[in-house]
């Protein structure tokens, strides 16, 4: 991706220049998180479902090669063409070859984080092929030559006036008309022509079922279906980890996915593709792009259980206040911070540090990924491999030294409270300690928790 190569804290600083917008972003995502909570509380067996979700994924990863082979066999007998891509480059080449062989010029694409990860759009555009992102949020960011800032809510970093301006210049909507209904209708009208005349549709895959050789795509807008059923060729792109063993497992995952994502009980459309329609070509591209490497890392392989619901983004205090673009990757947020160092360690070494390790992500994750533990483990691994800046390295070393010796920890705590009380400006100096950008210092407690505890425990 042609993302800015700068690091998370520098990019967050840019996002934080507009304080009001940051507040809005923060509150809106928290609102989505609270909708998730309400939906979850309506399902008494929620924790049981999470446990099943987690166990099914653990089982699948432990037998992944067999399930992929089973899927391939069944899908082929259903009339679907199966392709395998080792990396992003091969993924893009396979798609481009299908496009060339069929002399296609116009492509519609519904949401697929994998094609973002592979930067498919730039690749195809450079070959003179028109690719339109049909999900409204993705379409907005595509027109603005930006990338999605959230895997479920791609344009969450934008306000309605931004969308209005963008549509005014590209779709000639009325200047200053910021009404979401009006703007969405303009996109609907424009896109409808694109759907009707498109020759080839690309979609993502939410779940691929080994047992039946089919795949499921979930949308609220209906854009994946409009594309796939109108075009003569349908290409669905999936990472190897999208496989689930059986059709009945969809019951578990579809119940978990949208409640976790937006608080809806299910998406408006959950489309199950098993065979091409009469006269249609259907292709599935199965992509590795570093996933088998991650599978071989015992500390991080759990990240491959992710069903891309976005709940960990919405709950993350760092994501909410730094914005998706600060993660300079296709998948932002806490899970992105675990996946991206696997794809490129050097460039993404900053991401596992973009977290307070508060653990909220792990608490909401519908498939029980130990997200915050993995972030902590990446910090250790990256530091050992020398991918971490000297300032951070020193801080981490000091911290691990201090916390491993209780007596030093106590002295350090006492000293810290004393310094906070008498020289607060030193700690809160925004150049020495960048944590205090946009933050105020709390009043330090008179006594440590430990002192308080011993005094009160009797």
């Amino acid at each position: 991706m042609e993302h800015n190569k700068r690091n998370h804290s520098a990019l967050s600083a840019i996002f934080n220049e507009d304080e009001k917008r940051v507040d809005w972003h923060d509150e809106t995502l928290w609102f989505v998180r609270s909708k998730r909570d309400r939906a979850v509380h309506n399902v008494p067996e929620w924790e049981q479902l999470r446990e099943y979700g987690s166990e099914i994924k653990n089982h699948t990863l432990s037998n992944l090669d067999q399930y992929l082979i089973e899927f391939e066999k069944k899908a082929r007998s259903n009339g679907i063409h199966i392709h395998w891509a080792e990396d992003a480059k091969e993924h893009n080449e396979i798609i481009s070859e299908i496009i060339r062989n069929n002399q296609v010029k116009h492509v519609v694409k519904s949401k697929s984080m994998l094609t973002e990860e592979c930067d498919l759009n730039s690749y195809l555009t450079s070959q003179g092929i028109e690719v339109i992102d049909t999900d409204l949020g993705e379409y907005i960011v595509q027109l603005r030559k930006e990338h999605p800032s959230h895997i479920v809510l791609p344009a969450i970093h934008l306000k309605r006036e931004d969308v209005s301006n963008t549509f005014h210049s590209h779709l000639h909507t009325e200047k200053g008309n910021n009404n979401p209904q009006y703007l969405a209708e303009a996109a609907r009208q424009h896109m409808r022509r694109k759907f009707i005349f498109s020759e080839l549709a690309i979609t993502g895959v939410n779940f691929a079922v080994a047992e039946t050789g089919g795949f499921v795509v979930c949308t609220n807008e209906g854009n994946a279906d409009m594309g796939a059923h109108a075009a003569g060729i349908h290409i669905a792109c999936m990472g190897i980890e999208k496989i689930i063993p059986k059709a009945e497992h969809l019951g578990v995952f579809l119940r978990l996915l949208t409640r976790s994502a937006t608080g809806q009980p299910i998406t408006v459309y959950s489309s199950h593709f098993h065979k091409p329609r009469n006269g249609q070509q259907m292709h599935v591209v199965i992509v590795d792009n570093g996933r088998t490497r991650q599978l071989g890392r015992p500390d991080f392989r759990n990240s491959l259980k992710c069903i891309r619901c976005g709940a960990c983004f919405n709950t993350c205090p760092v994501y909410r206040r730094s914005g998706g673009h600060s993660y300079h990757s296709a998948v932002a947020g806490p899970i992105g911070a675990i996946l991206n160092p696997n794809i490129n360690m050097q460039e993404n070494a900053d991401l596992p540090f973009a977290s307070t390790l508060c653990g909220s992500c792990s608490n909401v994750c519908p498939v029980k990924i130990d997200i915050h533990d993995q972030l902590w483990k990446w910090r250790q691994a990256l530091t050992k491999k020398g991918h971490v800046s000297s300032g951070k390295r020193l801080g981490m070393k000091m911290m691990s030294f201090v916390v491993s010796y209780p007596s030093i920890y106590r002295v350090a705590g006492r000293t810290g409270r004393w310094i906070m009380r008498y020289f607060p400006s030193l700690l809160a100096n925004k150049t020495i300690n960048s944590w205090y950008k946009q933050r105020e210092m709390p009043v330090p407690p008179r006594q440590s928790f430990r002192t308080w505890y011993f005094k009160n425990k009797k």
Binding site: V43, I69, R160, F195, H229, L254, K275
Partner: protein
Amino acid sequence: MNSREKILAAIAINKPAFQPMPDVVVDIKYDYSVLVPQFLNILQINGATAVWVENVQTIKDDLQKNIAGGHYTINTTEVLGIVNEEININSNPAFLDPVEIAYISGTLGIAENGAIWLEESKMRNRLLPFICQHLVIVLDVTKIVADMHEAYKRITLGNEGYGVFVAGPSKTADIEQSLVVGAHGARSLKVYLLS
């Protein structure tokens, strides 16, 4: 080695020790006597209109009223009378584009989330439920199940080339999280539950 072999070989080396597949048995905590009201209620929350009718004539009248009102209306369900056979598996998108209202029969409905299963054989053309401006689904009231687990027990995936759960009108909240009904699919969904 080609990519397929390379990927499969890498998985074989890197995958964790075998873990058993869980037997999914979810305790159903639903009260079956309230499934239908629950189903109707959740559909309304999802932005659909849902009505329970005693007699198929009510739906037929509604269909006739739409046709008489000059709306391009397509019926694909035999219980409502003559099926519009000009719409079929080979109809192209430009031909389907002007359809205003489409009547399609559902196979089953789910009380926990309002989703209704539509099968390819019942919709005549896969694009129809999406490209029509307004979708009307007719569903037998005895076909309501409690939850997704029950639903998948009754559906045999792969028998048909395509099937979809529809749980409301198409919608988006991609502009500042404000809900807009009528994104790319049908602008409205009306569900007739038939006794």
